[in-house]
Symmetry: none
Subunit: 199 residues, 4 copies
């Protein structure tokens, strides 16, 4: 009879899952290898059979998050839209995709988006990307030329950040729902009065 998980890949996978969960729950430094291996039904040396070090697993997880996110974002670059409908629709779909991605694996999202020094970088890159797109649309006349798109991009990321942690990862809202609210808010704000734009 095989020992439980006498299969390397399976053990590794289990360790990775548990590790992600622990890192997400407690942060990098508070996570103990002893807890990880114990939850994975193994002993400490086994951990080092599959990973170089504590830092290495963490990096692997961060990298996984980053690369998946990169693929998602690159696949959803906003080309210049044609009319307002399109712009809105595109934003809606991109955000839905993003929230769907962020909600898919809550441990990984926690790690890549909120824990560790790289999270700051990830979000900065996201801001930069969004800013580029917004500026393009702004040049095309869809958005008020006076807006500081860097600030807008920062705000959007702040919103995504908070909604992800408070609404998405807690299961209170769906990606579509969140995307709809965000689009609505960012497109038209909450006032019932039209903006007094510089004319």
């Amino acid at each position: 009879m095989r020992k439980k998980g006498a299969n390397g890949q399976e053990s590794r996978a289990r360790l990775l899952i548990v590790a992600a969960n622990e890192f997400a729950k407690s942060g990098y430094h508070q996570t103990k290898i002893s807890t990880i291996v114990s939850r994975a039904g193994l002993t400490q040396p086994s951990f080092y059979l599959y990973f170089e070090s504590k830092e290495a697993v963490f990096k692997e997880l961060v990298e996984k998050f980053r690369s998946e996110l990169k693929i998602l974002l690159e696949g959803s670059r906003l080309e210049s839209g044609i009319d307002e409908e399109h712009v809105t629709g595109r934003l809606q779909s991109v955000l839905t995709g993003l929230f769907a991605f962020l909600g898919k694996d809550s441990d990984l999202t926690q790690i890549g988006f909120f824990i560790g020094d790289d999270a700051v970088i990830v979000k900065s890159e996201m801001v930069a990307m969004i800013e580029q797109n917004l500026k393009a649309e702004q040049r095309d006349g869809y958005f008020d030329g006076d807006l500081d798109m860097h600030i807008v991009a920062e705000c959007l990321v702040g919103v995504i950040e908070r909604l992800t942690s408070q609404q998405l990862l807690t299961g209170k809202r769906t990606p579509e729902d969140l995307a709809r609210h965000v689009v609505s808010l960012f497109m038209h704000g909450i006032s019932i009065y039209p903006a007094k734009r510089a004319t």
Copy 2:
């Protein structure tokens, strides 16, 4: 014979300042008592002359932030406005005050707003408060009745959070500047087209 600066209150104050800075820089767990006392020109036992434990200093700092914030927010409750001008103006002034507060002591803000488990609570409370105010204004007809003000409040806090850490604490923007951008974004969004509200 007293040592230079061998004044209890002064030593305590110095420890508190250094501790705040270390917590802000490195987070709770990465901050070492040895570093704090060393920077404060004292030795480890002295630390325990003024504070019960590492956790105690941290809590004291968090509490300081929370109480100051509480006073600020209570002093700036939005009473029902009278017209759009007022609503906008009030929001603008409240946000300016909030950013001013958050920018006043960056170490304390870091601690109370971003580090430690209480930060989550602080922000949730802020969300709740904002939500109340928004709902009141909504009832008064200033905002679209269909809007989910809980989500809007969450978004506002997310925006405040991010702008604080990325623009305010880095010295890139002033409180007024940030408040203006936020008000503009939240009131009217970025689209040049008016919202198609349900009629």
Copy 3:
């Protein structure tokens, strides 16, 4: 189906060679089984197919050295010489043989002569043997009767030890060369003045 080289004796031999090299290079404790098997193209359990333990391989190597050395030394016992020419010649040839042996397999020499607790014993035995021979020649009148042959023997071994590690194993000198120098030094010293022996 056998794997390439899946011949027990061959694997064992490979392990032995690599082990000798690692022990020689890094010493007993710093040598890791994992390194040995990896260099031998095998896995850790295979090691235990051929050797009881880490200590066992080491002992086997030490024993190999000791037995070979023993054979060499026993075959070269100095019988009482007849005249000075003979004594000198005999010493020269014995030393040449010894250096040749020590230079033959540098890893084994390193292990048996310099590493591990047995090396001390090996050299002590060598001292004892040399001492016997020197004393015999001394009784026969070839050497000054006042000399403490135990010390002389110790010196000779010290010289052999150092020349082996610094000149022989580094390839700087040949066995013959070294033997000649040692004989010259031990027979007549370096002074140009004759010794003032007690008469």
Copy 4:
């Protein structure tokens, strides 16, 4: 009542002594901090109160040996002698001093002369120094011009090495005694016949 050794310098000194003894007895890697502190009547963290790391103590000990040895050797440079008596006497006194130094603190000698990678260097430097001196005397005509003084120096160090570990550190012989034997051996060898030098 003071705790045993509630004096920093004393604790440090005790640790250093015990550490030296352990390193000398078991070598670097086999020496355990736990053993050192336990023998010094302390606990593990205390060790790190006085030393950076295990490696650091070791280095400190090695350095102590090296610097003391350096001072000794520099103070006893052989100036060109005047006649054979002088040369012999000088050699005798230098060797006596050296053996006295090597016998003074056997643990330190073990560490600096036999353990650790630096021991090899120490001895190489010693060879170089001796070689210089011998060559000078050789140029002055005291020694046979045909001798390879590098080899002679190597032999001398080999002899010192062995006599130190086997006779001096074991308490069997005194520095003077050993020096006398070495001088006699190196000056005139053991043969009763005079050397047939090239004429």
